[in-house]
Assembly symmetry: C2
Homo-oligomer: 425 residues x 2
């Protein structure tokens, strides 16, 4: 065993792939023997890259009989799904950073791997460099996890942080983020919460040991968050973050979502800024822990990919059933709570006529909808004699709040419902 | 294998032991068959505890041929060291929360375990429930860790947090902490930094893959921190925390210490309050991550002990070399930097005569000692015409600062050197 090198095939040599290739150079017992890229002629600033091992046919990686572990780092469903299955069929273990694939085809893939007695590890798919998947599978395995609250998307956290600090609008900050490369030309996947939804789907499935379906994950992006909301939240002692959350109640119902949330400044998550990610986890017996760190980037993500490679590599010579704790096999679907049935606290911003009946009208509408209020504050009476009114509710049902919003839209006192954002409980 | 239960022996049924016992009740495949306690007649509020498995002879645990894994949860050196060695000799794997034993006899124990092909896991010994040992050994194994800054002692963090919030003195808060059970009657082990020093010794050894000797860990407690220092630090944008830190420079020299430190409020560690612990870790490729959570207590610590048990249990039926990544075998001693040769930033509080020459005198003394200053602020001119002066230095050598302190003590302008506390760089 001493002299046998573990042979790695990489699919993808973009940001993450480069970081993985460079990091693996530090390990004498590991050798990258084949790399699939989209464009063989692209100039790459990678020292010690032997052009002979580079191919533009990813099947040359997954069909290579010498390769022990295939790292899939291209993302997306096609051809990643088929490549991974082919690799497994060919007897290879898999390390992947593909959150979309895991959220949409996780069960299929984990079953397929199990049938072939191979493992699929994916620390890099969720929260980049932060060690969270491995700890949940192993050292936290004695826990019943009841709640996760996480910041899982660096782009949106960057935008919200900048909006907060600069008092700038979403559109202005998005443009700046795009120029700096922190947001893509088409930012939909990030700003509408798809990326975070993929990640929380897989993370919650693992944490609750029940399958969470992506279609049951409620999702709302950050595009409607206004500079005025950031300001109002700050005045009330909160920050606004795009939070991916997952709760499992005592009856086995899961509530998994991604949406903007007012987070108390006393909370660790409120201090997670720019592209940093964080995962807060509550369970028994552990109580409450928070893990934070870089959620993306060449090297942080490489840390997780290489960690997964080393974990498999350390066991590769074994004849026994490999890494039993690292398998994922949560087929039983979780029961699901519809968002309309959930209980939440809300921040509501209304634009109203500057009329002495208005506060009473708001109070009455909320009372009729079974909503108790924590505070109503009138702000910024404007030249056209309208005022912004900020409402914080107590815990109430989403359904009731939606009824209230409709009632506000029909009220003669209310010009506009500016924003409705949930508040951390 | 399906029907064979893994058999556990517990040594110690105090706070942690009770939590472990209760938590293991959730696992059908694991059974506690023997528990050693100091006093068999002590009343214990533990449901489902079969008195027949309780003994006051810990050797009945380590010599029991049925037991697979021994959990040592009594702390201290004697008889823990001999018990663990006897258990290993008898073919048992070990889970321990004993930070003092690991810091003082770690190499001896890990070697002994290796000779007998057994593992010693100790997640609970460092930072309680926070998953840090396991991640460093496995998912972070691709990293070269260069720096750790951590809050590893809940008692001192509780005291410093209370001093900060209440503006109270060390003595007053210590008394309150003792009444609440957060500090022991003899608080020396916590407040003088011994506990944190034990933990950082083992953590740094693991992180740097070189043996750190406890006697090379510089240690300073919190007993001299004054309410006035907390206030001054706050005004300058800092909090004061007891920080356990470890740095490894490019030449392989380790700098490991425990002492109070001014931490910028922008830093995550500044927001770790009361009995919470945190570990910030810097390395390549990961960059910077921070893990925080409960550092002690019945259930958080049980989470780590049970996690370690489950990790061993999952592999117990294997015939191959077990858990290769979880072994500790760092015998080569790290080279050591003496504290006097380290470079630090300092917060210095002086009580001086309210005399117009005093600022010049302080500046001159520092200049003569090769110390550049970032700021000098005079505060609180008192009735007896003395003033407190707060100095923040730039980076300078400890040796030079000690010379400056001696010079201040001999200066006609200075009545007293109130405090000297290092500042996070």
């Amino acid at each position: 065993m001493e002299n046998k090198k573990i042979k790695i095939g990489l699919i993808g040599l973009g940001t993450v792939g480069s970081g993985v290739f460079k990091t693996l150079k530090n390990f004498d017992n590991i050798e990258v023997i084949k790399i699939a890229v989209k464009n063989k002629n692209k100039k790459r600033n990678i020292p010690n890259l032997d052009e002979k091992i580079v191919t533009d046919d990813p099947y040359e990686v997954v069909n290579n009989p010498e390769i022990d572990i295939v790292c899939e780092l291209i993302g997306g469903l096609d051809p990643a799904l088929d490549l991974i299955k082919t690799a497994i069929q060919n007897g290879k273990h898999i390390v992947t950073a593909n959150k979309e694939l895991l959220a949409k085809h996780g069960v299929e893939l984990f079953n397929f791997a199990e049938e072939h007695n191979k493992v699929i590890l994916y620390e890099a798919a969720i929260a980049g460099g932060i060690p969270i998947i491995m700890p949940i599978k192993t050292i936290l395995a004695g826990n019943k996890i009841s709640k996760i609250e996480a910041i899982l998307n660096g782009t949106t956290n960057y935008i919200l942080t900048k909006m907060d600090i600069q008092g700038a609008s979403y559109d202005d900050v998005l443009r700046e983020a795009q120029e700096l490369g922190y947001a893509e030309t088409d930012p939909t996947g990030d700003v509408e919460g798809f990326d975070a939804a993929y990640k929380i789907t897989t993370l919650a499935t693992l944490a609750f040991k029940k399958r969470i379906k992506l279609e049951n994950v409620y999702r709302e992006g950050i595009t409607k968050v206004r500079a005025e909301d950031m300001k109002a939240a700050n005045d009330l002692g909160y920050k606004i973050k795009l939070v991916a959350s997952a709760k499992m109640d005592e009856n086995g119902y899961a509530d998994v979502r991604v949406h903007p949330m007012l987070i108390s400044k006393d909370s660790t998550l409120a201090h997670i800024d720019y592209v940093t990610n964080a995962v807060s986890l509550t369970g028994h017996p552990i109580g409450h822990i928070t893990l934070s760190g870089p959620g993306a980037g060449e090297f942080p993500t490489a840390s997780s990919v290489v960690g997964d490679i080393l974990i498999i590599a350390a066991e590769l010579d074994k004849t026994d059933y490999l890494l039993p704790m690292m398998r994922c096999n949560h087929q039983e679907p979780a029961k699901n709570i519809e968002i309309s049935d959930t209980q939440n606290k809300y921040y509501l911003s209304l634009n109203a006529k500057n009329n002495k009946g208005v506060i009473g009208n708001i109070g009455n509408i909320c009372a009729e909808c079974n909503i108790s209020l924590e505070s109503i504050v009138q702000k910024n009476v404007s030249e056209n004699n309208t005022a912004d009114i900020t409402v914080i509710t107590e815990l109430c049902r989403e359904k009731d709040m939606q009824n209230a919003v409709n009632a506000f839209k029909n009220s003669q006192f209310i010009n506009n419902v500016n924003s409705l954002i949930r508040v951390q409980i």
